[in-house]
Amino acid sequence: MKAVKLSELKGEGVITGFTKNGDFRRRLISIGIYPGAKVRVIRRGLMGTPIEICVGNTRVAIREESARYVIVSLENGD
């Protein structure tokens, strides 16, 4: 399985971890971006940021620079 940053994800994947800890990570987890959750990129804003993603069945907007610290594994390995 290939892993990418959430900021580089196109389509679907599963969140596997974070590369930044503390409050940053806690905030993401509390809104539903946690390891094991399925994530799908829906669209991006005008300048490529923010990124609208769907985790669980919640829609969340995340800034590109925050998404860089979230690691996602691609399900079908492409």
């Binding site: 409050d23 539903g32 946690y34 390891p35 959750a37 907007a61 925050s66």
Partner: protein
């Protein structure tokens, strides 16, 4: 004989936007009380419900994604959860059960009696789910109720369930060694929340200061044992796994979900890079049109009431100084406070609607890139946009931002957003001095304001860097209930009148004193202004009267015009008004205000036409005599940038303390001087 009534305190907790306010509204009807949480300006809504011999206090806690707080509002919820109360009502958005359950499972570890409300089951059902509350009831061992708050369905089961006082059983299964460690800490804590606390301590993400040293020490020892493991992540994962498992059993799919729901379809347009931005630009315009067209008749009416009351006082034939104090100090002061109310009420109405419908989050999405450029969080656009209407609610609304530095940054930038009070001054000056290009001059003021705001934010971004995760939820579209929105807007407006009213009143009285002492001819205001002429002549303003009007402008900027008129044209003597004459004027004024409101309701969908054809009348002529176009331009810029008004300053003081309020005043006055000097120099070359 009165029977003894028992009192109960019930706190409503849950994710943001799950329907807590709507539920409390449905239960308590009109018995709603609004106040602030101690030490903050975050509004506290509570209601009294009389139910079977109980006086039940229902408290609406700020929405939270997590028990451990991430921002000021969540902090309040957290503190409250550890305080004295009888029952927790956990409100859940059933359509997003899995994430909502995360908070539920944590709450179940707090060891307090609890009721779970699965709200919005209508949405879950329409998406093809069958809801099984009995499963959750079985897991937690507490009453679980299904409701549709907006229709009032099921809400009366809540008080019934509250009286069962059932304490939930913790439902999450943690890895065995973590469980054992948690139990060890639990033994040291003598509070009902001991399980939740021990896990939070063990996770290493909670470092409270008011916990005995020996407990913290043993936590430290225990954490040593887990070296190399990420306890926080393991604990959270266990919770999410449980939540997922439970959610799958409570919500069962009856039929396939429609491939695209309404939210998806609307978002294709609203979040479209082009059409979405056009839509929000028009929507913003509409919100302002709505606010100003509908409030103007009532602001005028308040003015009329002031005039009539003043007339009545004048007709009493009291000592002139006393009459002046009553009319220009007291009546004028109260009138000024009240004249904020229509604008704020309508603005809050619009914002509440946008917030509850889900549109506000979309606007944040569209504007996020711009906010990011200025070094501000995406959510900061709400306070900034509000600032164009009125800076005061804008400052209060910063409390939804994540942390102190982000809130502060935003609050210090807000005063440069050109509020509607300043607009009145700009419109007059533009019409008088730049009749051919008046609309562009007014627009230029907005641009300069935004530019200074951006630069301020950028400069501060260099000083205070934010390390926060920039995320926010895009909730599904919902149609809010009118009664809830009306009540919320009313509560917030009253909150302002009570909170800032005193300060404004005081300022009005102070200005009255400055105008009337030592004598009306040689008053303090004149003395002060004459002294300041030296500085202001740098920006081409040499007449003390122009400067003296800036001080009353500190109360509210629209006052500048009235005060200019008085100092150049002389004040009008108080017109005595007879009782009947006054009453008739009031009745007629009321009728025409109603008519004006109706006209506004239709007119707001038309494009605005700033009426800039007026030459400014007599005042305009006089002003043309004392100011060159260049210095008039500088004066406009100064009005734009100098300290907005006492109400804004008092809001900043309430939110951030004396030091920051003082600093913000000093900063704004400095910037106002610097920029208007620059504007004057440039304008001298151009005009």
């Amino acid at each position: 004989m009165a029977t003894e009534r028992k009192t109960l305190k019930v706190v409503f907790v849950g994710n943001p936007n799950t329907g807590k306010s709507t539920l409390i509204n449905a239960l308590a009807g009109s018995d709603l009380k609004i106040s602030n949480w101690a030490g903050t300006t975050v509004e506290k809504v509570s209601a009294l419900l009389r139910y079977r011999g109980y006086d039940v206090e229902l408290v609406d806690l700020p929405g939270t994604y997590d028990i451990l707080p991430n921002n000021l509002e969540e902090e309040i919820t957290f503190k409250e959860l550890l305080s004295e109360y009888d029952v927790i009502v956990n409100v859940i958005d059933t359509g997003h059960l899995e994430r909502n359950l995360h908070v539920t499972l944590e709450l179940a570890e707090m060891g307090r009696p609890m009721v779970v409300v699965l709200n919005m089951v209508d949405e879950a059902e329409s998406r093809g789910y069958e809801v099984h509350p009995e499963v959750l009831e079985e897991v937690l061992g507490v009453p679980v109720i299904t409701t549709v708050a907006t229709k009032g369905i099921g809400v009366w089961e809540i008080p019934k369930a509250i009286l069962k006082f059932a304490v939930p059983r913790p439902a999450v299964v943690y890895p065995e060694d973590i469980e054992r460690a948690a139990r060890e800490i639990e033994r040291l804590i003598k509070r009902p929340e001991k399980r939740w606390m021990s896990l939070a301590l063990l996770s290493g993400e909670w470092s409270p200061t008011d916990i005995p040293k020996e407990i913290l020490n043993s936590v430290k020892d225990l954490r040593e044992r887990f070296k190399g493991r990420d306890l926080f992540l393991e604990i959270e994962s266990a919770r999410f796994e449980s939540a997922r498992d439970i959610a799958q059993r409570v919500l069962r799919r009856r039929k396939e979900e429609a491939s695209l729901d309404i939210t998806d379809r609307v978002d294709r347009f609203v979040l479209h890079p082009v059409w979405g931005n056009v839509f929000f630009a028009l929507l913003t315009l509409l919100v302002f049109r709505f606010t100003f067209l509908l409030s103007a008749p009532w602001v005028d009416y308040i003015g009329l009431v002031q005039e009539v009351l003043g007339g009545w006082v004048a007709s009493l034939g009291l000592n002139p100084l006393l009459t002046s104090f009553l009319v220009e100090g007291v009546i004028n002061g109260v009138g000024t406070v009240l004249s904020f109310a229509p604008v704020l009420f309508l603005l809050y109405l619009a914002i509440s609607f946008l917030e509850m419908s889900g549109l506000l989050a979309r606007a944040a999405f569209q504007l996020d890139a711009l906010m990011r450029f200025a070094g501000l969080p995406g959510k900061a656009f709400v306070p900034l946009i509000l600032g164009f209407g009125c800076n005061v609610p804008a400052v209060y609304s910063t409390r939804s931002l994540e942390n102190f530095s982000e809130r502060l940054k935003t609050a210090l930038v807000i005063p440069f957003m050109n509020c509607s009070a300043r607009l009145t001054v700009h419109v007059l000056f533009a019409a008088v001095f730049f009749p051919n290009v008046a609309p562009y001059m007014v627009m230029a003021m907005y641009f300069i304001g935004v530019l200074v705001a951006m630069l301020t934010a950028l400069a501060m971004g260099r000083v205070v860097k934010s390390e926060n995760a920039a995320v926010f939820e895009l909730p599904p579209y919902r149609i809010p209930k009118a009664s809830v929105i009306l009540r919320q807007a009313y509560n917030r407006t009253m909150g302002f009148v009570e909170g800032a009213g005193g300060v404004i009143l005081l300022a009005v009285v102070l200005v009255w004193l400055m105008v009337n002492f030592p004598s009306p001819e040689d008053n303090f205001l004149k003395l002060l202004s004459n002294w300041a002429v030296g500085v202001f002549s740098l920006i081409g303003i040499n007449d003390w009267r122009l400067i003296s009007s800036l001080i009353p402008g500190f109360i509210a900027k629209e006052v500048v015009i009235g005060s200019l008129a008085v100092s150049y044209l002389g004040g009008e003597p108080f017109q005595a008004v007879g009782l009947w004459e006054g009453l008739r004027a009031l009745a007629e004024g009321f009728a025409s205000a109603l008519l004006g409101t109706l006209k506004g309701l239709i007119g707001m969908f038309w494009l605005p036409s700033l009426d800039l054809s007026a030459s400014g009348g007599k005042l305009g002529e006089v002003l043309r005599g004392v100011l060159t176009p260049a210095s008039a331009f500088a004066y406009m810029v100064f009005i734009l940038l100098y300290t907005p008004c006492v109400a804004t300053v008092s809001a900043i003081r309430q939110e951030f303390g004396n030091r920051w309020a003082a600093l913000s005043i000093a900063y704004q006055i400095t910037v106002a001087f610097a920029v208007s000097w620059l504007a004057y120099r440039l304008a001298v070359l151009v005009f």
